[in-house]
């Protein structure tokens, strides 16, 4: 696994990885990939892909409006509310 790949994965995960940590991450990621190789050994030829461990289907709800949070509660965990909005760094120039 090259440096660029590790940097890319870190970037997609929004993790700041310092130069000195790269080799540690490399080892850990390779371990995980090895584990996937292990999984690949299982014969899944006639097994349909599983995306859910529980065999439930069509769990749906009726189209009804129920209690919503008021503005104050919605913003309660925000460190930076303003005029009823969540405030964050500018995302477009």
């Amino acid at each position: 696994m090259d440096k660029e790949t590790i940097e890319k994965v870190a970037n997609l995960s929004k993790l700041a990885v310092e130069e000195g940590e790269l080799s540690d991450f490399k080892d850990e990621l390779l371990n995980i990939l090895d584990y996937f190789d292990k999984l690949d050994e299982a014969n899944t030829e006639n097994v349909p892909p599983t995306s859910h461990v529980m065999e439930i289907i069509n769990k749906m709800r009726e189209d009804e409006v129920e209690k919503e949070l008021d503005n104050e509660s919605a913003l309660k965990n925000s460190s930076n509310p303003q005029e009823g909005y969540f405030k964050g760094p500018k995302v477009r120039d």
């Binding site: 995306s51 129920e66 209690k67 965990n77 500018k90």
Partner: protein
């Protein structure tokens, strides 16, 4: 030069509640962050539960767009990092969408193939106050159900793209699952390329007028590059609606690495053939079917049938009035007069001051000869501009048609005043009568019927001759 256009259209479905939670979808007139809950705010531990109605509406749309509806579908997480998505991913459909392989036909029978349609959640809304160094986020829109419609690259002009969007709007509105008059209810991205050039993806198109403008701009831009022997780069561009131009968007290549994976919090959805058929049976009459029926049922022209079925409101308006007034007359007055006046004012029928009762009143008065055609037009204009009931307007504005004996008097007065024209007519200059009719019309401010006036004039002038 060959132009190739494909569209990705996002439309909001008219469910009462959001796609994965019970929050309301009427965010437009609301204060920010007043229609949220832990699910649509992406708080840890919250779990999405799918809205049954959204699947039903999506299936209706899929059937109306002639798609194959999936018997089994699944949701995926599309991961990207942007503050309009509080969870850090959007729940959408990936390789097992709701519908595939559809098609619709535009006028002149042009076929546009639909690659797929799928359900996904609308992100929140970002506000960028001018000159501020921050952005504000409102999550009221977060989780509103969107139907994405992806076409094959089958359109070859901006006009065709516009027709396609209009057709989609028309169709979905007939199903009562979409309201195109709501701001931002339809948004689209367009892929466009010219023969021998790379493909540009244009984002941020929010109306069909905008689509036509953005695409026309792109054609000019790409043509100019190719003409000068330059390369048309494959890139994403942003449409600036106020300036009607597209701009290159700087983006990192990783942004497209969405790392889709199955949404573990939502189980599979199965739609049996029975269920699909029961939705199919409940589908209302679609524009194309209505058009054919109108043509068969009423004595109206092809063009009239076409204009009357451009919206459900209009079609119902026409059909309900036709039960009381002659359908042919109704069709003419609705398509020629009312629609023209509405277009001129950039109003839609439902948001205008006109209603069925008022229109019936006008047409009945016209039929009974109490008002002239010109008067009727003036009354329609008055209602659209200032409101009011035609009964009052006729009284106040003196739009009542002139009575026969009064018209006689006026005609005699005009004849006395215009002896030259009278002599011309007697000498055989027949067009002189047009001038006299015009004089009577202006004297009566349009309250005389031109045909009656002409007849009366002819009769009197013949008497002069003898």
């Amino acid at each position: 030069m060959n132009v190739t256009i494909g569209l990705e259209v996002h439309v909001q479905l008219l469910t009462k509640s959001k796609l994965f939670c019970n929050c309301g979808t009427n965010y437009r007139d609301s204060e920010p962050n007043t229609h949220t809950c832990p699910v649509c705010l992406g708080l840890p531990g919250s779990l999405p539960v799918l809205n049954k109605k959204a699947i039903e509406y999506g299936t209706m749309a899929g059937l109306a767009l002639n798609c194959d509806i999936a018997n089994e579908m699944q949701f995926h997480r599309k991961n990207y990092f942007y503050p309009d998505l509080p969870k850090g991913f959007q729940i959408t459909q990936y390789d097992r969408p709701l519908g595939q392989n559809g098609e619709i036909r535009l006028d002149q029978d042009k076929k546009i193939r639909i690659k797929r349609i799928h359900l996904e959640e609308d992100p929140g809304r970002l506000v960028h106050p001018p000159s501020a160094r921050y952005s504000l986020i409102d999550y009221n829109r977060s989780g509103v159900p969107l139907l994405e419609i992806v076409t094959k690259p089958d359109m070859d002009s901006p006009q065709e793209a516009r027709s396609f969007l209009k057709k989609i709007r028309e169709t979905l509105e007939f199903l009562d699952i979409f309201d195109g008059s709501l701001d931002g209810a339809m948004r689209c991205d367009a892929n466009i390329s010219l023969e021998g050039g790379g493909r540009a993806e244009v984002k941020n198109i929010s109306s069909y007028k905008g689509a036509e403008k953005a695409l026309s701009y792109e054609i000019t831009r790409q043509k100019n590059l190719l003409r000068r022997g330059k390369e048309v780069k494959r890139e994403t561009r942003h449409f600036d609606e106020s300036q009607e131009i597209t701009r290159s968007m700087r983006e990192k290549e990783q942004e497209h690495d969405y790392r889709y994976f199955p949404e573990p919090d939502l189980p599979l959805i199965q739609l049996t053939e029975e269920k699909i058929n029961s939705i199919k049976e409940k589908l209302p009459e679609l524009p194309e079917e209505k058009r054919k029926r109108f043509l068969d049922q009423y004595e109206i022209t092809k063009d009239q049938a076409k204009s009357l079925t451009t919206s459900k409101t209009l079609a119902n308006f026409f059909e309900e009035i036709s039960q009381q007034v002659n359908p042919k007359k109704t069709a003419t007055w609705v398509t020629d007069s009312l629609m023209g006046e509405l277009n001129y004012r950039d109003q839609s029928l439902s948001e205008s001051n006109m209603n069925k009762q008022k229109f019936i009143y006008i047409l009945e008065k016209l039929r009974d000869g109490d008002i002239t055609e010109k008067g009727a037009t003036k009354i329609i204009r008055h209602i659209l501009d200032e409101g009011g009931h035609p009964k009052e307007i006729i009284k106040q504005k003196d739009f009542k048609a002139i009575k026969s004996q009064n018209l006689d008097q006026i005609i005699h007065k005009i004849l006395e005043k215009n002896s030259e024209a009278v002599e011309d007519y007697i000498k055989g200059k027949e067009e002189a009568i047009n001038y006299l009719v015009g004089q009577v019309m202006s004297e009566t401010k349009g309250k005389a019927k031109p045909a009656d006036t002409r007849k009366k004039l002819q009769k009197i002038l013949e008497g002069y001759d003898g």
